[in-house]
Symmetry: C2
Subunit: 359 residues, 2 copies
DNA sequence: TAAAATTAGTAAAACGTTTTAATTGTTTAC
DNA sequence: GTAAACAATTAAAACGTTTTACTAATTTTA
């Protein structure tokens, strides 16, 4: 193993002090242009790279960001939070940070406190998705900056990067309205979830804009959860009372649940009932018909979170910022846009969108 | 922010030297039982936790492991490598390591060398999937321990954790044989890929065992790639010459490609042609019919990789170890086991397996 | 033109551990 | 009964940076 090049080697080579070299490396203090160049040249020639651990110890910073999410969120099949993490990874490079990922149980316990908090091994925290409040309090007591992604701590004003759920609900509903559907149902699952609330709000907003009366009977929001089964059940309840001509499901999982129900009842999609989902999960292009949905740029959520968090670390006075990431309508088959000739979605194009497959 | 508790505080409280405290913390050297207890008690009471950066600097170790994979692998939709990463994260906690994840381009360039290598910020490397050899050489020159997961560096004996591809190919083929199929085709895509080779080997082994002659015309392995499209094309080629009664596709992506082709040609699955895939990706339960496949425990791959790597770091004399992780047959609908009454797969059960949905 | 301010550079302390070598007292070996 | 080995503990060096406070030289201000 080759001997490590240290700041001392650079100092020796240039005939300067290590302080000066350090100042050049960190773009700090007053250094003459000539010396600066000399140092840079020597660094280049020697292949010097500051040692992390020494830098960390001396600067009293760790240059690590903690990424915390619950075990359930991480081990779910759809890589929603994984993609957010990817975003943070990509962005944090620019600021010379590393992202340490860890999972926590949904219940707080002393033994489950992330190691990087105990060891003071992070400068800031990203909470992804719903997290037990006690962890947040713990982080707060440590005096660390933190930011939420895709979750909003109820009853507290915190920095957060959110999906623009209202806009998404509005776009989805407007799309269905523009295709001529009149009786548009909303499958929301669990109304307690802040994201579902937002999507419902957007749905109502769109209806109102078009002068359509919002029939509360068309909104099913009394499920305990927002999973596929809940979509199935909600759809069952809905059809026991009414038959809508379109459904806006507040997420793709529930939309797929609806598809399953309708298929079992031999109700044709989109001919008899059109469906639009939300999230654009992988499964959307595997089920038949392919699901029209609202796409969320998950990586973007992570990217923005890092950007904000680094700002907060560097200048604690920035205050609490909330960012809403815009969403996008992805038109496939389940909404009937193709049938109505409004949009052409050639199979070849969809084919090209298909995932790159395994291995 | 509360003042950090340091080793000095523990030393002061116990009346011992910091050296002794350090020895207790690290379970090293000769420390009397009585003093050990005293130190442990003081640590508990003060809430002392060694500072990472100081520990790292002094011990000349980073307690970080690097997880490297190509951008393509990471940004793919199916979270294959993500799950491997999760496994490494879980396991590394036990050894007090952190895992730093980074992606690299498929081509080597000086500017794309992972930061943690330049900064000497890792003690060992996990390469996941196919990686440009030059990166491996670079790591080797740094004198770092490294291990491969799901890839085998051609022409070089390296530590690796592999899927037991041969076993998987054998199990899949045996399953089809046991269901009475006689003309079983193999869709392999790209024979250059080591995993595909292994799966083909297993396929041939199973045929041989049952005394079935292996018809080379039934093996399509001349595609440039192993993606869904290649499965589609391979299937096209196959049916231009022969009509098998079953297909073993060397991965699920290609299996899905086959399904698409057969559906277009109105060939019924599994009635006319049965299909078995490999990998058990998410899409298997979304397509119709649901895909019978070989399941790979991806997290397990990561877990074992960390275990081995830590061994290698601690005792460089362990030598090169290769581990094969066993696979498992998952029977769904595409193989016709249900039709033939061999296995019952109630829809309810499959339903219960479905992903937890979004949000 | 003297005082003040600015610029360029540096010596030395600090960061919180691990590790090496030394010290002291006690036991074992012959 | 002495030398060697061992056990328990510690002082001090080392790890490679950043940062503070200082000096010296130059420029600006009034």
């Amino acid at each position: 193993m080759a001997k490590r090049v240290t700041i001392r080697d650079v100092a020796k080579k240039t005939g300067l002090s290590i302080s000066t070299v350090s100042l050049v490396v960190n773009n700090k203090g007053n250094v003459g242009e000539e010396t600066r160049m000399k140092v840079l040249k020597a660094i280049e020639e020697l292949g010097y790279y500051p040692a992390r651990s020494a830098k960390n110890l001396a600067s009293r910073k760790t240059w690590n960001l903690g990424f915390i999410l619950t075990e359930e969120h991480f081990s779910r099949s759809e890589p929603f939070y994984t993609k957010i993490f990817i975003g943070t990874e990509l962005e944090s490079r620019k600021y010379n940070y590393y992202v340490l990922l860890t999972t926590i149980p949904s219940q707080f316990s002393k033994s489950s406190i992330p190691r990087f908090l105990l060891e003071n091994n992070v400068d800031g925290i990203i909470f992804a998705g719903k997290v037990n409040q006690k962890y947040v309090r713990y982080v707060e007591e440590l005096g660390l900056s933190y930011i939420f992604v895709d979750y909003d701590l109820p009853g507290k004003k915190v920095a957060a990067v959110m999906i623009d759920n209202v806009q998404g609900g509005e776009i989805a509903t407007e799309h269905l309205i523009s295709l001529g559907y009149k009786k548009i149902a909303f499958i929301g699952g669990d109304i307690e979830h802040p994201s579902i609330r937002g999507r419902l709000e957007g749905y109502k907003k769109a209806l109102e804009k078009s002068g359509i009366n919002c029939d509360e009977n068309l909104c099913v929001v009394d499920e305990p959860d927002t999973r596929m089964v809940n979509g199935y059940r909600a759809c069952e309840k809905l059809f026991a009372k009414f038959k809508p001509d379109a459904i806006f499901a507040a997420n793709d999982a529930m939309a797929i649940g609806c598809v399953r129900f309708l298929k079992e009842k031999k109700i044709k999609i989109p001919d008899e009932v059109a469906i639009v989902g939300f999230d654009d999960i992988e499964a959307c292009i595997h089920i038949e018909p392919r699901l029209t949905t609202i796409r969320v740029d998950k990586e973007e959520l992570g990217i923005i979170a890092v950007r904000r968090l680094v700002e907060m670390i560097n200048s604690p006075e920035v205050g609490i910022i909330r960012t809403y990431v815009p969403v996008e309508l992805v038109i496939r088959e389940s909404c009937g846009a193709k049938l109505k000739g409004k949009v052409s979605v050639p199979d070849k194009d969809i084919y090209a969108q298909l995932p790159n497959g395994e291995m």
